[in-house]
């Protein structure tokens, strides 16, 4: 497949200062590569679309995604596999088994982390809780306060991973449930402001946790053209800092390539979403260098 590449250079003025300092520069080491794989809005699409489907013939399918992911992990063991929510609802697999098969398969595919979409409440918060034992991966959400619900302590605001010495922090964000999900389903889940939460999270992950890579796993939606005040991934990316990647969901947005957004510090950050139904897998490779000589070059983004 042909891909239109373009390179964006960010000038890292601060790192120029360290050039040639402290005599550590003679030390060179191999660059490190962290691969982030992601899906969103798979909506219980376990089998591929059939050959007669009117829109997506022969696309998707968990068994194919599994082999793809296995190959990528073989190539780079320092891989994280994330899902941005709406795992549930969309095929009879969910109606018949309540999400059990979805979670079991995601565990077999070795998903590392997921956030919660509005449809993951479709069998009620109790229905989601009942399926958690089938998930061998964790859920993160920083702006859903579950303290008065059965999910209390089962969903963390963020999780960190260390891969090849690189510390990766991932926090979750969910969409406002009021008006979208029946209140009887989400019960006393409280929704906190996504922007404030994201600013908080990026500070905790950067300063306290000292993460090298910070990812926001969001189910807020990519962008709302007709509702300019509604919070979305694009808006969030513009109003926050220190977040390297926003993995989104909810709007089922198919992008030709991730969107490069200037954050509040005028630095480049990436917003991505891969449509829905497991039709695509997002793959983003982050290359790290611990040789200070090279750090003067800034970050090139190839999308």
């Amino acid at each position: 497949m042909k891909r239109r590449d373009f390179i964006q250079q960010t000038a890292a003025a601060a790192s120029l200062v360290s050039l040639g300092g402290l005599g550590l520069t003679s030390f060179t080491s191999k660059p490190k590569k962290i691969t982030i794989l992601h899906t969103n809005d798979v909506h219980s699409h376990i089998d591929p679309f059939g050959p007669d489907d009117g829109r997506n013939p022969n696309k998707g399918g968990v068994a194919r995604r599994a082999s793809l992911i296995k190959n990528i992990r073989q190539e780079n063991p320092n891989t994280l596999l994330l899902d941005a929510g709406d795992i549930f609802q969309g095929t009879p697999y969910f109606n018949y088994y309540g999400g059990e098969l979805e979670f079991k398969l995601m565990s077999m595919l070795k998903y590392d982390l997921a956030t919660i979409g509005n449809h993951d409440f479709d069998n009620g918060i109790d229905g989601l809780y009942a399926q958690l034992p089938h998930a061998k991966f964790d859920f993160v959400s920083a702006n859903y306060d579950f303290s008065n619900t059965i999910l209390d302590t089962h969903v963390k605001p963020y999780k960190t991973f260390i891969r090849d010495g690189i510390k990766v922090g991932v926090f979750g964000l969910g969409i406002q449930l009021h008006g979208l999900v029946d209140n009887n389903l989400y019960k006393e889940t409280k929704y906190l402001d996504p922007t404030e939460t994201a600013q908080d999270m990026s500070r905790i992950l950067k300063e306290n946790e000292q993460c090298d890579l910070i990812i926001c796993l969001s189910h807020l939606g990519y962008n709302y053209k007709h509702l300019p005040d509604k919070i979305s991934d694009l808006k969030l990316a513009e109003t926050t800092k220190n977040i390297d990647l926003f993995i989104g969901g909810h709007t089922h947005t198919f992008l030709k390539k991730p969107t490069v957004v200037k954050n509040i510090e005028n630095k480049n950050t990436l917003v991505n979403q891969v449509g829905c139904y497991g039709i695509n897998l997002g793959k983003i490779d982050f290359y790290f260098d611990i040789d200070k000589n090279k750090s003067a070059n800034g970050t090139s983004i190839i999308v």
């Binding site: 009117g54 399918g61 599994a66 793809l68 077999m108 209140n183 090298d212 793959k283 490779d285 260098d289």
Partner: protein, 272 residues
């Protein structure tokens, strides 16, 4: 304020995780001391490379996964693959600006299936039907319609309810539809908006609307409870629960209809 408490409890939760990680960090620090040079230097992100991989039939099938899914699939297919109707064309909710063939099919089916039930219980007729555009969850592909089609189009467990609305609420409902500018499916209600997006005419059952009267509106429980911000149902005092899932409405409607051929029509249009 209420908000402050919420924030506090979240902060507390975060603090707990932070403590766990601080212990972990101390551990990694100890290990790192023996690799002094590596530990002292900050990792610098110098390149990001992104691509999207299509999941297609050119990819190998993971046999372990496939055999794990199989028994689940066999069980479901036994139930779902019986052919119950036939679709003349492919119908999608994106085919139409203010009304779509598939949306019209759904509300017309709700009217046809539910009015006899409602009438037998209340001796009244449903005046009109309103569903939501977002509630059409899949296309109907040309060819055989099976029980599965109904599951795909309406995977949710939502059921039909009939709400008695005052004229004032009907006014709100109409103004919602006019400002939303979406093809929310309606039956027995006709709306025309002018080129400036203002309401031009509105009728119920081909008659002018009497805003001093009350109307029986069939919808689903999700919308009745304020889904898609349809807040006009909220102040209502009479509700009739039919215990009839929308999906079952579709299955029953398909089962008695040999071939479906819904059309986009004039029930909700904009004058160009």
């Amino acid at each position: 304020m209420l908000c402050t408490n919420v924030v506090k409890s979240t902060m507390l939760l975060r603090q707990t995780f932070h403590n766990i990680y601080m212990t972990y960090k101390l551990f990694t620090l100890l290990i790192c001391l023996s690799f002094l040079t590596a530990c002292k230097q900050d990792a610098h992100l110098y390149k990001i490379e992104a691509k999207q991989i299509n999941v297609t039939d050119s990819l190998e099938i993971d046999e372990d996964i496939e055999s794990f899914i199989k028994p689940y699939r066999v069980q479901i297919n036994k139930n779902l693959d019986s052919v119950i109707s036939y679709a003349k064309e492919t119908y999608s909710k994106s085919d139409g600006e203010y009304n779509t063939a598939i949306g019209n099919l759904m509300v017309d089916a709700v009217y046809e299936q539910c009015n006899p039930i409602f009438k037998s219980r209340t001796n009244r007729d449903i005046d009109f039907v309103l569903l939501n555009h977002g509630g059409i969850r899949a296309i109907i592909s040309e060819g055989n319609i099976t029980t599965r089609t109904a599951y795909e189009v309406m995977p949710f467990e939502n059921a039909v309810v009939v709400a008695k609305l005052k004229g004032e609420q009907v006014k709100e409902l109409i103004s919602y539809l006019v400002t939303e500018k979406r093809a929310h499916p309606i039956a027995k209600l006709n709306l025309v908006i002018d080129k400036d997006d203002q309401l031009y005419s509105a009728t119920i059952n081909d008659k002018p609307i009497d805003y001093n009267s009350t109307y029986y509106v069939a919808t689903n429980d999700y919308l009745y409870n304020g889904g898609d911000r349809m807040n006009f149902f909220k102040t209502n005092d009479s509700l009739y629960v039919l215990d009839y899932k929308i999906r079952n409405v579709l299955i029953d409607y398909f089962s008695k209809t040999d071939t479906i051929a819904p059309k986009q029509d004039n029930r909700f249009i904009k004058i160009k």
